[in-house]
């Protein structure tokens, strides 16, 4: 198993490098440079501009600039934000935990809904339960998160007045009240994201269980006299989960996209809203760093999925 994890890590590294190349190429291809403002500023003489360009190595060949950028990223020197004059890594570290918590909890919610509903729908295919669940799932993933978010705000915040619709990070209360307030304001972002994920996940679970449940070993398990419950939970679900894990990992980029949108709707101070703010304010170092961090997170979750995959299906980790 350790050997397997190590091998997956070795495969993940080239992808990370590939992503860094893609990111840097995009930046290098883009017209305009960070000194554009200086160039148009009449108070900066041309010689100073040339010296600055030379000092920061802007006229070097592309590959040299890429290597320099990569090494400084690796050393943890991510530059500082043009706007807030704070180091980028600090800025990201402040925002990252909120995003991770929201995404993590929404994934948990999605699994809690999708797994039982998907299994139940597949155990009795084309029953009433299956039809209703499948139709709702279809509607669920046809609803874009920004629209569900707005509908949720309209219904739960404005009409019912249950939850606050703006996420606040400066809650003054302490103790249990503090946790309760945080929980209350996180419910809507988490459920918007979680329900969207649950809809597509439920379809994956359903079709995976349908594939497995007709196999011979399930009949064998039944004929041994095991209860239907044991057959489903111990024999069917574990094997059905194998393809589901891969599909969920492939969904990770979409999950982060959804997180950016939900953070924007509910004004959650996460890494996604940091990205949007940075883009609206032309804050290049922050944009680059956030995009890179998000790519790393996606690769990390893919790695995690690979590990879970190996644990669910021992054939893979020994292969």
């Amino acid at each position: 198993m350790l050997n397997y994890i190590f091998r997956r890590l070795l495969i993940a590294l080239p992808s990370l490098l590939g992503i860094s190349v893609v990111l840097f190429t995009v930046l290098a291809l883009a017209p305009g440079d960070p000194f554009e403002e200086l160039a148009t500023n009449p108070n900066v003489p041309a010689e100073v501009r040339m010296m600055l360009r030379q000092q920061f190595g802007l006229d070097d060949p592309v590959w040299q600039r890429y290597l320099r950028w990569l090494t400084s990223m690796l050393r943890g020197d991510w530059g500082f934000s043009f706007q807030s004059r704070v180091n980028v890594d600090q800025l990201i570290l402040q925002r990252l935990p909120t995003t991770i918590v929201v995404i993590g909890l929404s994934q948990v919610l999605a699994i809690l809904i999708a797994l039982p509903v998907g299994v139940l729908a597949a155990v009795k295919p084309y029953s009433w339960f299956d039809r209703i669940a499948s139709t709702i799932a279809f509607i669920g993933f046809s609803l874009p998160t920004f629209f569900t978010g707005i509908v949720f705000i309209l219904f739960f915040s404005i009409y019912l007045g249950w939850f606050p619709f703006v996420y606040r990070s400066d809650i003054s209360s302490t103790g249990w009240q503090f946790f309760w307030d945080h929980f209350k304001q996180s419910i809507m972002p988490i459920s918007v994201l979680g329900l969207f994920q649950a809809a597509s996940m439920m379809r994956y679970v359903r079709s995976a269980v349908l594939d497995v449940i007709r196999l011979d070993y399930v009949t064998t398990a039944r004929s041994k006299g095991l209860t239907e419950r044991t057959v489903i939970t111990k024999h069917v679900v574990r094997n059905a989960l194998i393809p589901v894990v891969t599909l969920v990992a492939l969904q990770m980029p979409a999950v982060f996209g959804g997180a950016i949108v939900t953070e924007q709707i509910f004004r959650v101070p996460g890494i996604g809203s940091l990205l949007i703010d940075a883009i609206l304010r032309n804050d290049t170092p922050v944009i680059m760093a956030v995009t890179f961090v998000l790519s790393c997170l996606v690769i990390f979750f893919n790695l995690l999925a690979d590990v879970i995959y190996g644990w669910l299906d021992p054939r893979i980790s020994y292969g």
Partner: protein, 326 residues
């Protein structure tokens, strides 16, 4: 496309299998029976059995017609400001109400629908073209070309799409605006970027189809008759791998519409004076307590379009899968 599928080879294959099933019988009659049901008619018959997909086709068709012909009939300008009726709810004069400047929302939704649908179609065409090309090259070449192409595909699959979309739009918006003008520049940018991030599933599908089809007897027969590789691909392999590609194309339209609305909703899509559905929704969300209709109608339009397209995709999947017995 219909005559591509019904080319002599695939029709011949149908007739042979049909003859095998029916056993001995008068030959000419057999030919007539098969000729009367083309593969496309058969697919349409299967498609109609999927009730939701069939009705979705009607709903979507009506919406497309409304968006295309609506502005010709409903002659209210999208920028007609009327301060007398600001934020008015739906009424006979303004069926979908008005926004904060008193502009008619129905007119804006109809106009925005054209852009949203055009973006969806163009991005889909782009994704399918790139995907089919890469998948076909990987599937035919095999070896290291295939390995490299699939590595690139996997890399693109693991890129976080929305952040990169935002980054690309941030970097390339101004120059394209200057090169092609405001509307066209943004349109080209959004379509290229959305299309450029949606080709991977198609490439994988096509490659897998090519791997199995190129070993089939009818392709081997064509090869034995001296057909060149391009001819094998264009006449024999590609038409037979179109089924899953069409399904993927349908779903890509929906995904592109959602992506465009998301960009507009984040304030990074089309500029404010071009009312796409996502943009109207974005403008309307600040007035939700005063004017619910402003955000609701464009939101419902996006939802209905995406839902019907997804249902149609599901129906097509059933209709175009030859292994499936209905």
């Amino acid at each position: 496309m219909a005559d591509v599928i019904a080319d002599p080879d695939s029709a011949g294959a149908q007739r042979v299998s049909g003859g095998g099933m029916l056993g001995p019988g008068p030959e000419p009659q057999l030919g007539k029976v098969v000729a009367s049901i083309s593969p496309w008619q058969e697919a349409w018959r299967r498609f109609k059995r999927h009730r939701l997909a069939y009705w979705s086709l009607w709903v979507l068709g009506i919406m497309v017609l409304a968006v295309l012909l609506g502005p010709l009939v409903y002659k209210v300008g999208i920028n007609d400001v009327d301060f007398q009726s600001r934020l008015a709810g739906p009424s006979l004069k303004h069926p979908m109400g008005t926004d904060d400047l008193g502009r008619d929302i129905l007119a804006r939704v109809l106009y925005g629908g054209r852009i949203s649908l055009a973006v969806g179609m163009a991005a889909m065409l782009m994704a399918i073209t790139v995907g089919v090309l890469i998948g076909a090259v990987a599937g035919m070449a095999r070896g290291w070309v295939d390995a490299v192409l699939m590595w690139v595909t996997d890399l693109f699959l693991s890129l976080p799409q929305l952040p990169l979309l935002l980054l690309l739009i941030f970097l390339f918006r101004e120059p394209l605006k200057q090169a092609f003008g405001l509307e066209l520049g943004i349109f080209i940018l959004i379509v290229t970027v959305i299309g450029g991030f949606r080709w991977m599933p198609v490439a994988r599908l096509v490659r897998a189809q090519f791997f199995s089809l190129r070993e089939k007897e009818f392709v081997e027969a064509a090869r034995a008759l001296g057909a060149t590789t391009p001819r094998q691909v264009v006449r024999h392999i590609l038409p037979n791998s179109l089924g899953p590609v069409i399904v993927a194309a349908t779903i890509d339209v929906a995904a592109a519409i959602i992506a465009e609305s998301t960009l507009s909703f984040l304030g990074l899509g089309f500029p404010p004076d071009i009312p796409t559905w996502g943009r109207i929704l974005y403008d309307g969300r600040d007035y939700m307590d005063l004017a619910v209709h402003w955000a609701m109608f464009p939101g419902l339009a996006i939802f209905l379009t995406v839902l019907t397209i997804n249902f149609i995709g599901d129906g097509l999947r059933d209709a175009l899968d030859p292994r499936r017995v209905l």
